[in-house]
């Protein structure tokens, strides 16, 4: 067995307010290990607006700028401009936004920033819904999933928006997917992003135990299965064209991933088959892009 090489430094302190088993808490901890203390993080509204703690206490050991829901891309552009004007080119600007703040309400500001190739790392902490407000559907919610606005009598009718493709089409220097089940891969991608200038996008899948209806000890297992069943492949896109897929082992049936989660417990076999077909199609599509 290989020993992991995760830095011992911690920039997430005690006393944060994340739920038990929160994927976003582990994700933040790992992310900050990679980005380091010379990071300024911008938080448009998401679970992480709450998790650091209430005024006057913060569990984060880096300066943070909380921002309006829409404004991850725009507020970070301004923070970067100010640091540049002040001559602080060493400081790294990062955005930590949810899927709502990225796929939905914040997509205009993010697209504007990416088109201008603003110099920051944008991390989309994707828990596939509006979890901070009690599990409402977002455009990152998977097909047929239960949420409080897509009840089992009328589950989510639309497949998840392909945010990585949208970001790739902005021809930003770097975009990558990551999950906390593959921490070395996550750290390597964050460190790689840190070395690049321009807009870098990390799509981080973060299981949400209360929202996904999973026991809190299953977060890592579910994250790993998301990759292994190819619902959430691990890959990188450089300059919008050059694709590299990290994990290409033989796929596990998507049913193995779905059956662990209460949000999919209402699915019929037919619906599971349709999800499997989509996953297979998207995988082939990704392979074609990687071969080009």
């Amino acid at each position: 067995m290989r020993k992991t090489e995760i830095p011992v430094s911690e920039n997430l302190g005690r006393g944060h307010l994340a739920c038990a088993g929160c994927g976003a808490a582990v994700g933040m901890r790992l992310t900050l290990k990679a980005l380091g203390e010379k990071t300024v993080m911008v938080f448009p509204a998401s679970c992480w607006s709450i998790i650091p703690g209430f005024w006057p206490y913060s569990s984060l050991r880096i300066p943070v700028v909380h921002a309006g829901f829409v404004t991850g891309g725009s507020t970070a552009s301004g923070v970067r401009a100010a640091l540049d004007i002040r001559g602080d080119h060493e400081a790294l600007v990062a955005v930590w936004a949810g899927d709502g703040g990225t796929f939905d309400i914040g997509i205009q500001a993010l697209s504007g920033a990416a088109e201008r190739n603003e110099d920051f790392i944008y991390i989309c902490n994707d828990n596939e819904g509006y979890m901070n407000t009690g599990t409402q559907r977002s455009s990152a919610t998977p097909l047929f999933a239960w949420t409080t606005t897509t009840p089992v009598t009328r589950p989510n009718e639309n497949p998840k928006k392909d945010m990585m493709a949208i970001m790739a089409d902005h021809h930003i220097p770097y975009a990558a997917t990551a999950t906390i089940a593959y921490p070395e891969d996550l750290l390597r991608k964050m460190e790689k992003a840190k070395r690049i200038r321009g807009t870098r996008f990390i799509h981080l899948l973060s299981p949400c135990p209360p929202g996904w209806r999973i026991p809190s000890e299953r977060t890592i297992q579910v994250s790993r299965l998301a990759v292994r069943c190819r619902v959430f492949p691990l890959y990188e896109i450089e300059n919008g064209i050059s694709y590299t897929i990290q994990e290409q082992s033989r796929a596990v049936p998507v049913k193995e991933y779905l059956k662990l989660q209460g949000r999919f417990s209402h699915l019929t076999d037919q619906e599971i088959d349709r999800i499997q077909e989509r996953v297979d199609d998207e995988w082939q599509h990704l392979l074609r892009k990687a071969r080009c």
Binding site: I62, P63, H66, G68, A76, G78, V79, A81, L83, I85
Partner: protein, 384 residues
């Protein structure tokens, strides 16, 4: 240096002379020539400023919120729909206590589409915690921008400098432009109290529970209450350096007038002529120009109108269901006073319709001839 320039060019000169670090803006008529002029000046190397050409007004203000939190001097300009689109972020800028300066070129809000002068855009942002300063001419526009940064940075509140569409924005007037050295001696570099620094793990604009939130708002109100005294000092210093000052209000015309006319923006310039002519004909009338709308100069106005029997207010704006907004503010400020003149609230010039000397005279005559206003809203120049 004296040059003949438009109101929008005066804005650009004010921004250069203020040594603004970050500009973030999105084009909208009639603001556009401001950002065009600034782009030219940055392109020619005369301005060491970062210009973020963002994809919306919402992002324009959000980017400045990020930059101002980062500790640098910031500027944007907009109009009408753009200002309305910024609304959420206007609250954020004042709540975060950021000394951002915004120029709003007054323009009507749609529908129907209309690109002409109307103060309903800026006045509908009156509760956002921004200081609001209205300008009468292009010289005042330039001078007010320099003053705005001094006030904003002293009280840590954002300032909106307001000028009328076309009547100022696209009309040329002779303007005295201070030298960079003169401007520098009046406006020192911005030194933020709490700049953002890596290695200093502070959280900006974080969540505050009911236990703490109210005190943040109390401090904001206290900062607003400091504005009259600070603005007065800044204006006096400006006058001593440049020979020009504006006050929060300005009274002109007869000393002991029976009727007072209250206006803001360019309507004041026309009113000055009308009042002069009426005085020559023996009419007892004077005018008050209101420059600062927020915080409303209640005491300053009261000192000037307490002896008068009647006050006419001409509003180039409408809060539907209520009437003119300056008139409403004035009525509210008078309620607790002992001497309360009758307030005649005229609404005129919406969507850029000219407020002519004849209409202003009609308003004054109506006020003289009636003991009290016959209606809450007196429509001036309306086609019935």
């Amino acid at each position: 240096m004296r040059r003949v320039i438009t109101g929008n060019q005066a804005v650009a000169y004010g921004v250069i002379l203020s040594r603004v670090d970050v500009i973030s803006a999105y084009p909208i008529t009639p603001q556009t020539t401001i950002v065009e002029e600034l782009s030219e000046l940055i392109g020619s190397g005369r301005l060491n400023t970062r210009f973020l050409k963002v994809e919306s007004e919402h992002s324009a203000m959000a980017a400045l919120i990020g930059a101002s939190t980062g500790g640098v001097r910031c500027f944007t300009a907009t109009s009408s729909q753009g200002l309305a689109y910024m609304h959420e972020m206007l609250h954020w800028a004042s709540g975060a206590r950021l000394p951002i300066v915004l120029v709003n070129v007054n323009r009507a809000l749609a529908p129907p589409w209309n690109i002409w002068s109307d103060q309903s855009d800026s006045l509908s942002q009156r509760d956002t915690g921004w200081i609001q300063l209205y300008c009468e001419n292009n010289q005042e526009v330039l001078d007010t921008i320099l003053q705005a940064y001094r006030i904003a940075e002293a009280v840590r509140l954002p300032v909106m400098v307001v000028l009328d569409a076309y009547v100022l924005s696209h009309t040329s007037e002779p303007v005295e432009i201070p030298t960079m050295e003169e401007a520098d001696s009046f406006l020192p570099p911005y030194r933020p109290e709490h700049p953002l620094h890596t290695g200093q793990p502070e959280a900006f604009s974080m969540i505050a529970t009911p236990e703490h939130f109210m005190e943040f708002r109390y401090k904001m109100q206290k900062a607003m209450e400091q504005v009259p005294a600070i603005a007065k000092t800044v204006d006096e210093e400006f006058r001593s350096r440049f020979g020009r000052g504006y006050g929060s209000i300005e009274r002109y015309g007869e000393g002991e007038a029976e009727v007072l006319l209250i206006t803001s923006g360019t309507v004041t310039s026309t009113s000055r002529i009308v009042i002069q002519r009426l005085m020559e004909r023996g009419v007892s009338v004077a005018g008050i120009k209101v420059k600062r709308f927020r915080p409303f100069p209640s005491e300053e106005i009261y000192e000037e109108i307490r002896g008068a029997k009647k006050v006419a207010v001409i509003d180039r704006n409408l809060s539907a269901g209520v009437g003119g907004i300056f008139a409403q503010e004035l009525r509210a400020s008078l309620y607790s006073k002992e001497e309360r003149p009758q307030v005649f609230g005229f609404v005129s010039g919406l969507g850029g319709r000219d407020i002519t000397p004849e209409l202003i005279e009609e308003a004054i005559r109506c006020t003289i001839e009636h003991h009290r206003p016959e209606e809450e809203i007196l429509w001036l120049g309306l086609k019935r």
